[in-house]
Symmetry: C2
Amino acid sequence: MTSPKTSPEATVKAATPTIGVFDSGFGGLTVLRVLIQRLPHARFAFLGDTARLPYGSKSRRTIARYAAQSAQFLVREQGAEFLVIACNTASALALDAIQEAALGVPVLGVIAPGATAARAASRTGDVLVIATEATVQSHAYAAACRAQGLRALEKACPLLVPLVEEGWTDHPVTAEVIRIYLEELTTEAAAAGLNPDTLVLGCTHYPLLRPLLERIIARAVPAGIRVIDSAEAAAEAALRLFGQRETEERSPAAQVRCFATDSVDKFERLGSRFLGRPVGKVELVDLGG
Amino acid sequence: MTSPKTSPEATVKAATPTIGVFDSGFGGLTVLRVLIQRLPHARFAFLGDTARLPYGSKSRRTIARYAAQSAQFLVREQGAEFLVIACNTASALALDAIQEAALGVPVLGVIAPGATAARAASRTGDVLVIATEATVQSHAYAAACRAQGLRALEKACPLLVPLVEEGWTDHPVTAEVIRIYLEELTTEAAAAGLNPDTLVLGCTHYPLLRPLLERIIARAVPAGIRVIDSAEAAAEAALRLFGQRETEERSPAAQVRCFATDSVDKFERLGSRFLGRPVGKVELVDLGG
C-alpha cells in the first residue's frame, strides 16, 4: 500500500500506519479498546463527533453529512490510512457516504463484522439485534444477517444509551428496562416463528451492559442466548485486515490521539469507562457544524 | 413598536405579530401550546433544531452557536418580531448570544419566568430545580432564584428526557427513576439545611411527567411540594409582554408554522403529544450544521 502523500512525514506514517476510528460519541472507544489490545504497536486517531451526538435519533441525510465530515478530518488532517467506523448508526446509514469522503482509504464498519460473528455463533440461524432507533429503522443488520443466511429480528432500545451515560450499568432500573426490552423482543420473535439463540449488541454503548445483560438472559432464557458484541467483532475484522502489516512494521507502543467536536470534559470523564484506561488529553476540533 | 422592514409584507406582519418560538427539539411545543391557548389570534413560527439536539449535554460555546443560528432563522427568514426561547438549556447558556443574533427583536427565555413563578409559589423561600445537565451546570436557575430572594438546589435528571421520548410518561420504570432522583434531591436539600416547598420543572420535556411527578410527591412528601412549570410561566410572561397588542390587532385564528432541522417524521409523530393537538406539516430547514 502506498501513502497518498510523499512528504517525509508521510514516509514516517507509512512505517507505522495510522488507524482512524470514528464514532458519534465516545461509545466507539469500546472498539478502540479491543484494537489497542490486539494492535499494541499501531498509531490511532479517534474522533467523537460529540457536538452532534446522538446520531441514533437522526435522519440518514443528516447522519451522512456529519459522518462524511468526520471521515475527512481523520483522513486529511490526521493522515489515517484505514478507517474503522465504530458507530453502528453511521455504519448502518452512511457507509457509502463515508467511503466516498474517505478519498480511497479503506473503510470498515461494524455491521458486517457483527453479522459474521452472529453467523459463527448461531446454531438455529435466528438472531436478535438490539440497537438505536436509526440503526433499526435502516434494517442494515437484517440485510447483513440475510446475506449470511440468518434471520434477524431487530429492536430499538433508546433508553440504554442514556442509562449507560448515567453510569447505571449495574442498577435495578437498568435491569428492569433490559427485562422489558428483552421480553418484548422474545415475544415478537415467538410470534414471528423464530427460534433465536444469539443476541447482537448493535450499539457501541451496549458492551458496558454486557455483564448485566448476560445475568438477565441466564435467568430468563433457560436454553440460553449467546451475546455477540459488534464492537469486538469489528476490532477482530480490523485485525485481520491490518494485522499482517502490524507484525512487520512496529512502533514501540500504541500511540493514541483522541479528538472531540464538543466538551472534552465529558469525554475525558466518561471515556475511560469505555476505553478501559484513561483517555488522556482530548483535543477539541471544529468541523463547522 | 415599528417593524424593522418597510415592505408591504412587513406592514401585514405588523398587523399580526409573528412570535418566534425556539427549542433544541420539540419539547418547547409545551410552551407553544400555552401561548396558542392564551394568544389564539397570533401568528407563530416554531423551530426545533432537531439535527443537533439534545443541547442539554453540550458545551456553552456549541449551544450558543446553534441557538444564534436558530434565532437568526426565525427573525430573518420568518420575520419574527418576538422570540420566546422555549428551551431551558439555550435560555441558561445562550440568552446573550441569542439577543445579539436577534437583531434588536425582544427575546424572552424560560429561566427568569420560572424563578418568578417559584417566588410567587414558595413560602419557605427554598426551591428545588430539576433540569438537564447543561442547565444545571450553568447554575442559571440558582442565579435567577437568588435574584428573587430564593435559595435553589438544582439537580440534573438526564434520564427523564429519553423516558418521555420513549413514551413512558406513566410507567413504573419512570416512577422509579423519579423516586430515585427526588430522594437524592431531598436528601441533599436536608443536608444543606434547606426546607423546600416548590419544585421547578426546568426542562420543556418535563411537563409531560407532571401528573406522575405530582402523584409521587403526594406519597413521598407529607408536607407537599408545589410543582412549577417553567414552560407555563414563560408563556404567561410572554402573554404579559405581547397580550396588549394581541387584543388590539387580531387575525382570525392562530397561524402556526413548524420547522425542524432534521427528520420531520419524528417531530410530526411525537410533537402532537407536546402540543396537545396535531402539529401538522413540519417544514425541513438547513441551518448549515
